[in-house]
């Protein structure tokens, strides 16, 4: 796991070096802050899902969740209160997450299906709620959450730092965190050893939803507008960041810091292609190649120590 992260950091450094040589515009304070701000949005969304993936689950509803949460928040802010909007987004996100959790733990619907179904349900509600309209133009103070600076750093970067720190402590240094890894490694063994699997699963899906709610506020503040499809382009990049960050879809392996590195790596790639004015069609292609490459490195490096002995599952 540690070596995987080291490879990734090396990848980030090599990419930075290459971009520095390729264009003068890359290695400037303002561009690096720009990359960090863009990455922070991806990270906020991906961090909650990382917890879900650690339990061998998946949350496909986060993009839709961001869309509905942002629209609900936008309406509440327009109705007069920024605080109300923030609370509404968090509550909306959390509710969707908990419903996902209940579907997985009580109805025993596989996470992929449960959250995929939720994606459609939430899209439907959002389309109905917004009826094709756009809500825009929010107070300056609120918008600072997305586009403002504090002591020279973009505000979302502080949120990213806070989530990383809290999440790091939560996953590494609390029983909850250890139990989440244990469930991902082997749910049945976890249950037999007395871990309250259902409660923990509800917790991670709830957290994933709540993080989508938080991310929706930052997106709203940054875009200064909400429309029904605001979240749709966000789900796949968030999952890509998790995979590139080395968290295994089979659960039990991975980390939030990995997801951060994944988010930064993918953001750097797009930033670099914009700076170098590389054509439109290549951007998704390169992202796809990086995802596969990163996961292949994991598979290869994890297999290596076992290669001498019996063939074991790569994961």
């Amino acid at each position: 796991m540690k070596t995987g992260l080291a490879y990734r950091l090396l990848g980030v450094l090599l990419l930075c070096a290459a971009l520095t040589l390729a264009t003068d515009a890359f290695l400037t304070v303002s561009n690096l802050l720009n990359v960090l701000r863009q990455a922070s949005l991806v990270f906020l969304l991906a961090s909650g899902v990382t917890l879900v993936v650690l339990t061998a689950g998946l949350d496909l509803s986060i993009g839709a969740n961001v869309g509905l949460s942002a629209c609900v928040a936008a309406a509440a802010i327009k109705a007069g209160a920024v605080e109300l909007g923030v609370a509404a987004a968090l509550a909306c996100g959390l509710t969707i997450g908990l419903l996902n959790g209940l579907m997985v733990t009580r109805l025993h619907v596989p996470p992929f299906i449960a959250t995929y179904g939720m994606l459609w349900v939430v899209h439907g509600i959002t389309y109905w709620y917004m009826a094709g309209q756009t809500v825009y133009d929010f107070p300056e103070g609120f918008r600072a959450l997305g586009s403002g600076y504090l002591l020279g750093l973009p505000v979302p970067v502080y949120l990213m730092g806070a989530c990383l720190a809290l999440g790091g402590v939560f996953t590494r240094h609390t029983t909850y965190g250890h139990e989440i890894y244990a469930i991902g490694a082997n749910a049945e063994a976890a249950r037999l050893s007395g871990i309250p699997v259902r409660a923990r699963l509800n917790l991670v899906y709830g957290l994933s939803g709540a993080m989508a709610g938080l991310a929706s506020i930052v997106y709203l503040a940054r875009l200064n507008s909400a429309e029904a499809d605001i979240g749709e382009p966000l789900m796949l990049p968030a999952i890509a960041a998790i995979l590139v960050g080395g968290t295994s879809l089979f659960g039990g392996i991975g980390s939030l810091s990995g997801t951060l590195v994944g988010a930064i790596l993918l953001t750097l790639v797009l930033n670099g292609m914009n700076l170098l004015a590389i054509g439109a069609n290549w951007q998704p292609l390169v992202t796809g190649v990086i995802v596969v490459l990163a996961v292949w490195i994991d598979v290869a490096t994890r297999r290596a120590p076992a290669a001498a002995g019996s063939p074991v599952r790569a994961e």
């Binding site: 515009a25 890359f26 720009n34 094709g132 586009s147 875009l223 966000l234 700076l275 439109a280």
Partner: protein, 332 residues
């Protein structure tokens, strides 16, 4: 009277609206059912079209059924909705293809079923239509681009924000931008990058381009949402550039009024919805309709936004006669 500027586009002939239309609709042909196919639930532009169509149907005493793909812009969804519609047999269909090539077989199915089809907004690559009602995306791009470059004094650096790669309207608009740029030798195109018609992507692309280029004087956005994203990026970076876009949504008008957006070339979804529906109903009632209906599409700036500033819900369709005057001149 109160609406006679109608964004300066629709000839000043709207005064007689209600009366003429109520004359046109008498008779036993009332109650026609029109099916309207739009591309998605999310883009405000299609909502404008739906509202315009609903108003025209109401005025002409027809009923309107909506078909919107469950997944935005989905080809298979629209294809199966065509099959549903053929079973339900509306009297006529007003059709915006989600893809101008891929939906041709769907159009042919409706042709085979004998349902008259009016092609709206995006010109289909094939199939038979009563009429095409829409705007010329290439000219939208060209007019929008020329306006920007003239206001830049014919010199400086510009960037282009493209729509969805491969979509016919993005391609045509960008080609229009390019043609405009080619007419000004002192204008440099720094980059043409994809924003996929989406605000967030346009915002991030603009942020990145602002890093790459210390001097950007103009931004050509292929729709209003992307222009809004670009404006956010410019504001956040404390940089100044003139921005133009396409579609003339209410949000764009507000940005024009706030001095943030220079102009939005208007494709007028609301009136497109009106005309498409009117053409279908007139065809059913045996009244003449033009085979081609392209109305003027002015550049909307702070001098002529007129009733674009009103929510679509408060607008009503102009009269057929007012619309066609000047369009169906004898040499048409």
């Amino acid at each position: 009277m109160m609406t006679d500027t109608r964004r300066g586009r629709l000839a000043p002939v709207v005064v007689l609206t209600g009366m003429l239309i109520s004359c046109a609709q008498t008779g036993d042909t009332a109650g026609d059912e029109i099916a309207l196919f739009t591309k998605n639930q999310t883009n405000p532009y299609f909502q404008s079209i739906r509202l315009g169509a609903a108003d025209a149907a109401r005025q002409l005493d027809a009923s309107l059924v909506h078909y919107v793909p469950t997944r935005p812009d989905s080809i298979p969804d629209q294809m199966s909705q065509i099959e549903d519609a053929i079973i339900k047999r509306p009297d006529a269909v007003v059709f915006i293809p989600v893809d101008f090539q891929a939906m041709v077989p769907g159009v042919e199915k409706m042709n085979a079923a004998g349902i008259p089809v009016v092609n709206l907004t995006d010109r289909s690559a094939g199939g038979q239509f009563v009429s095409f009602v829409g705007c010329d995306d290439h000219r939208l791009g060209l007019d929008s681009g020329l306006y920007l470059l003239e206001r830049m004094g014919g010199r400086g650096n510009v960037i282009i924000l493209e729509g969805v790669g491969g979509s016919s309207n993005s391609k045509a608009r960008v080609a229009g931008f390019m043609e405009a740029i080619a007419r000004f030798p002192d204008v440099t195109l720094l980059a043409s990058q994809p924003g996929n018609f989406q605000r967030l992507q346009a915002l991030q692309v603009t942020e990145n381009l602002l890093q790459a280029y210390p001097q950007i004087d103009g931004v050509m956005a292929a729709n209003d949402s992307m222009a809004a994203g670009a404006i956010e990026a410019l504001d956040a970076a404390n940089r100044q550039a003139l921005v133009t876009s396409i579609n003339g949504t209410k949000e764009a008008v507000d940005a024009i009024k706030a001095g943030k957006l220079l102009a939005s070339t208007d494709c007028n979804g609301f009136v497109q919805g009106c005309i498409g529906t009117m053409v279908a109903i007139r065809h059913l009632r045996g009244l003449p309709v033009p085979a081609e209906f392209q109305f003027p599409q002015p550049v909307v700036d702070n001098t002529n936004y007129g009733d674009l500033d009103r929510p679509d819900e408060e607008r009503s369709c102009p009269s057929w006669e007012g619309l066609t005057e000047g369009l169906l001149t004898p040499d048409d």
